[in-house]
Symmetry: C3
Subunit: 306 residues, 3 copies
């Protein structure tokens, strides 16, 4: 258990995954979804550790459910803030986890690039990104695409409007990367001060109503009210009027268009409350699919690559 | 897993339970107590979530033991304070839990009526009240009555003195409701500023020594020293002199009278240390019975009603 | 489950253990290490509680892994600081744990002597010291000695240099006690203001380089930078120059000499980063051995003594 193993099961971000690898994960997640009990206890007595240095109710719970459905024992570390997570001591923490028998660590923190650095040092444990600062959030992207893939049967050519705080969204980045790999056609929209020129090199920015008009799916991003209210948006009501998904705006989408949101939702700001459980909303299905996708990602981590 | 199920397994407060339903819970708890291992793993691989927005060591541990003895996987959410728990976002949290496969949520918080409101909206998950502000604490009342029922064989006609901070006690409220349903004869006592006129419409208030004189059981309520010391009681020593259960006061009770306390105990204030493990004290038996009662309540929640 | 059992499975400190008892624990830990799966689920459905009133990532995780490898259900209490842990209420907490079915409690706190006091009152539950203030840390000492025992085949006559903050180290105290019991020959070294006259009655204090010269093993103690920087050490660089284990200093040890450190390591202060995973370092092997030793200690606790 002491020797350092080379691991290829790390999931640092979507850009490391080919289309084929993502399709394999979708197939696996679909198979687990169809017969969840057939996978129960698959990794009985094996250990996962969840290291969340930033608060996250949903992602943490989703991983914990996925781990336990696989029969894994789950250790939880909450070391306050990620400011204390520095290179050397974090490496030692991962080596300690490996020494006591942990095989996979799910990590959420703010620092850009820390996970890639750790993976490069072979800490003897598979690393799964649970949301990294303004970097990536690959399991969220995978569950979003899995949800669209299940609904539409394909992602190729799919028109997806991503609306909201593009500049600060790790969800947007990981999603755009993965959608592009599948040949989907994402477009961007959102408030002027939240636009990101880097993204607009590859993807068109459109006014809200135009973005919706041809969208097979709209991904509403969460507005970080607590962070940006002063600077970037004038008021929740203003935001809703300009970029919120309302029943009126839903009318402008094609009749087959569906709604996605990574949660947690600001009802009445980026999306109206009555749309959250609308027949065309996939929001709670996304939550459910998150468990199946994360089970597939954990399998990949344990098995050391697909 | 997505569709919203109508659940009748909620436990919001004792006033929703008929005498027959409570007796069925006592019978179930008694059966589990007699052969705990026969129930082990009954809900293997099923998920419970404990949402404690107020600190609670005992109740939380007791539920966790009950859940695990049934074989359940336990998720724990501690979202700081319950001030952040508002209607819409709390509903979304419950729907998220339901989406990832959680079947029952045990909730402790301060807000009056939040659980009843949530139950009315059918969040797809059974709700169990783990202590609601100054409202109710139904599993505490059930374990108290189960303890008395086991000891006396019946609750009908039983004289129970409830002593202490009647105004702020959720334990007192849920207990009085349930005792009344069984035809017991509760009486009240405690400091003048802690009396509650609403309760005295239905139950007599007596001076301490008189309340004890005919009591088959005395329930000493915990004094919230941290909250009330300045305002409502002059000093712990004063409180003990006037309303504390001392060996002298125990002498005034009938020889068969027993002592209950929900814990944690303020030794030397509402009850003397030497009485905590006295042969006539049921205090640690209450803790044990709490596990059996909560297993019965969780079974009821999972099965969707008795 | 209510009656108070006399327990002989407590582990309060190493001074309660004879050489034979420690050897029995080493043998048990070695057997578990050789076939970990043969012990899986040994205590299925039995409950342990971890009460850590001081932060401790490594020790807490190690115990949690040990408990779960034995099949135990693990309850976790984090009641803020140990300032709130007073005699009576702590006794009541232990009795509560016993009442709900917990059989062993692992406790870390600051107060000297609290565990011994509790053990003397027979709370109906086995107590295991997880690190007690500046008192003892017996499982750390046992895992250190187990690591040396496995490497050298014996502890008798072994020359062990213990270097660093001797005055504040619970690790040093428990280790010296146990090494003496085995007839090992420990020597001490470290900064002048961190010397402890009480220890020097029994063990020689030597200058750093002299202490290393004949050492079969060196135990580097962690410098509590956060506590002592102002008072006791001038700077991390100064500390390293005078008492840090560097590649140059390693050269002065016998070629067979090995390195131990309880972790977490301050790289570049008491030990250079490149020595942490050096072939002669036992640091991560110590972490692994900690799990086997703690499984043996928990077995002893559950079975009520060897």
């Amino acid at each position: 258990m002491i020797e350092t193993r080379t691991r290829t099961g790390h999931l640092i971000d979507t850009d490391q995954l080919s289309r084929e690898e993502m399709e394999a994960l979708f197939e696996r997640a679909g198979a687990i979804r169809r017969s969840p009990d057939s996978h129960r206890g698959r990794y009985e007595g094996r250990f996962a550790a969840n290291l969340f240095f930033e608060p996250s109710t949903r992602t943490r719970l989703s991983f914990e459910v996925a781990e336990r459905k696989l029969g894994m024992e789950v250790l939880r570390l909450d070391e306050g803030s990620s400011s204390s997570v520095k290179g050397e001591s974090f490496y030692d923490t991962l080596r300690t986890l490996s020494s006591v028998g942990v095989e996979v660590a799910v990590i959420r923190h703010t620092g850009g690039g820390l996970l890639a650095e750790m993976a490069g040092r072979s800490p003897g444990i598979a690393l799964v990104n649970g949301g990294e600062g303004e970097g990536g959030h690959p399991t969220q992207a995978l569950l979003d695409l899995f949800t669209l893939h299940r609904h539409f049967g394909t992602l190729s050519g799919l028109r997806v409007a991503i609306v909201g705080d593009l500049r600060h969204s790790r969800v947007a980045r990981s999603n755009l990367q993965a959608l592009q790999e599948f040949g989907a056609r994402p477009v961007l929209s959102g408030p002027e001060p939240m636009r990101d020129p880097a993204l607009e090199k590859d993807f068109p920015y459109l006014p809200m109503d135009e973005a919706l008009r041809q969208a097979d799916a709209v991904m509403m991003l969460r507005i970080q009210l607590e962070r940006h209210r002063e600077k970037l948006i004038t008021s929740p009501a203003d935001y809703r009027r300009q970029f919120g998904l309302t029943p009126e705006r839903l009318e402008r989408m094609p009749a087959h268009g569906v709604i996605l949101h990574p949660g947690p939702v600001n009802r009445g700001v980026e999306i109206d409350g009555e749309l959250v459980e609308h027949p065309r909303s996939k929001i709670f299905e996304q939550m459910e699919n998150g468990v199946w996708i994360r089970m597939a990602v954990l399998e990949r981590a344990i098995e050391g690559g697909l």
